[in-house]
């Protein structure tokens, strides 16, 4: 069989359109009274801002759009938000907990 690497590391940028794959579920857990992320054999505890970011990851919005929404909501510096956003999403993408939609924008 072909044993060469087929996959390349997904590198996220401001124009990427992230979305959670079917097997990664962001859910509010009433028993624990907190948001959780369910992933293969793992449970993650996102902080409040990560939850907001992930709720905006719909495969349509670009990361730059998500940043704009949050920058306006919190009247914060977009550059800072973008740095944090990219770090969070890249980390999830590296674990295959996040996909990016690659089709060109309409």
């Amino acid at each position: 069989m072909d044993q060469t690497a087929r996959k390349a590391r997904p590198i996220l940028e401001a124009a990427s359109r992230p979305i959670l794959p079917r097997h990664v579920k962001l859910r509010f857990d009433k028993t624990r009274d907190r948001w959780i992320i369910l992933a293969p054999e793992r449970v993650l505890v996102p902080d409040d801002i990560s939850v907001e970011v992930l709720q905006l990851c719909d495969g349509v919005r670009r990361i730059s759009d998500i940043v704009a929404v949050l920058a306006e909501k919190y009247a914060a510096d977009p550059d800072l938000i973008q740095t944090d956003c990219l770090a969070l999403l890249q980390d999830l993408a590296d674990k295959a907990f996040l996909l990016t939609v690659t089709e060109p924008s309409p």
Binding site: Q3, A5, K25, K30, R32, R34, P40, E41, V43, V45
Partner: protein, 394 residues
């Protein structure tokens, strides 16, 4: 099932709504349950973590019993269920069980040797809401892999099933249980996981209890092998960042500190055996003298988790003797593995000898090195008749 490596989840997750969170929380709501549907398995891995005395098919919980167990799990706040065994696909009702898990909101993982899977069955499982498949491999090529698993053509079947898993759109983890006789194939196993488009690879060194303890002489790696493995894993983790997530379980006979077994006894996880016994860990039945409650009794799972002697005996840190009692790491590793302490010291209440502070550590380390050097490679295969030596089957 293969050697289990529970994920280390955040301590906040065991805290109930309204309670004060913090690392000191001894236990709260269990996160995940390992559902061992059966001990039947076509493979005969010499390191199998099932107990030496396995449960026969006639004792297994029925479909209805498992469904009511899942209702209870969901109600008490369990988030994930790992369908395991033995070989869970031996159960004809697996798809039905997965569908029920989905219905009650449990995230489901299938932990399988994969030799009995077909593409149609995988599609059915995916349609029933299965979220993830973990397939074990015993080596990087047929000859060795099939010898370790004691099953002809098993390796080829696994590769086929791994491809189907991806074709039906399910994420894949490859689980490789490593020991002296297959560690040299680790680089090829890493390549294989990439080629199979797995997201994750678990490189799990054998843990020595149950069948693996019986086979320790044939499995224990040398210290040099372990150092080489550390190097290979570190290099691959770096090279494959973002391509393959590699989880690594160090062989703890050669470690300085023991692993945090099960995230702490009775703290985050538990097991349900094929006949319905509720166990703090998959090897807990190896602790002689310990009694376990069953889902077939008149107690709820919640009651068993909160109150049973099996869970409370080694929960938290209060039970600990020295050197653990006064140790700064006691809330990090919770004193290591109770089953290993029992197997190696005769008492589950002792410090795990994998810890350098255990008085038995030096002896265990030396014995491991001696056994590795002797190179006795003959396996005793796992089966329902107490094991069969390799040369008796070939």
């Amino acid at each position: 099932m293969t050697d289990q490596t529970p994920p280390v989840a955040d301590f906040q997750l065991v805290t109930r709504a309204g309670e004060e969170g913090g690392q000191r929380t001894t236990y709260g709501i269990p996160l995940a349950v390992l559902a061992e549907l059966t001990h039947r398995c076509p493979l005969q891995c010499p390191y199998c973590s099932n107990p030496l005395e396995m449960e026969v098919a006639s004792k297994e919980l029925t479909t209805a019993e498992w469904c009511s167990v899942m209702d209870e799990l969901a109600e008490i706040g369990v988030l994930q269920i790992h369908f395991s065994g033995g070989e869970p696909t031996v159960r004809k009702d697996l798809t039905e069980l997965v569908r029920h898990a989905t219905k009650v909101g449990l995230y489901s993982n299938l932990i399988t040797s994969a030799v009995m899977l077909t593409k149609a069955r995988l599609q059915d499982l995916a349609d029933a809401g299965l979220s993830h498949v973990q397939i074990s491999v015993q080596g990087a090529e047929d000859g060795l892999a099939d010898r370790v698993g004691g099953f002809k053509n098993g390796h080829a079947k696994k590769l086929e099933a791994a491809r189907w898993t991806r074709e039906v759109g399910l994420p894949l983890t490859i689980n490789a249980v490593m020991h002296r006789q297959n560690l040299h194939q680790l680089p090829q196993i890493i390549d294989l996981a990439v080629a199979l488009d797995a997201d994750r690879l678990e490189v799990a060194n054998v843990q020595y209890y149950g069948w693996a303890l019986k086979n320790r002489e044939a499995l224990i790696p040398s210290f040099a092998q372990v150092e080489e493995t550390n190097r290979i894993v570190a290099e691959a983790q770096d090279r494959l960042a973002g391509v393959l997530d590699i989880d690594y379980v160090v062989p703890d006979y050669y470690a300085q500190r023991p692993k945090q077994c099960m995230g702490g006894w009775g703290r985050q996880f538990f097991n349900i055996s094929p006949a319905g016994k509720v166990l703090p860990c998959h090897a807990a039945e190896s602790i002689t003298g310990m009694e376990f409650d069953s889902v077939r009794g008149n107690k709820s799972i919640r009651w068993i988790w909160d109150n049973s002697e099996a869970f409370n005996t080694y929960r938290g840190t209060g039970w600990m003797p020295e050197p653990c009692e006064s140790c700064e790491f006691k809330e990090i590793d919770f004193g290591g593995c109770r089953c290993q302490a029992h197997a190696l010291t005769g008492s589950a209440g002792n410090t795990d000898p994998a810890c350098a502070k255990s008085p038995l550590h030096a002896e265990i380390f030396a014995r491991a090195a001696t056994e590795a050097a002797e190179g006795q490679d003959r396996f005793i295969y796992r089966n329902f008749s107490g094991g069969t030596a390799e040369d008796e089957v070939s």
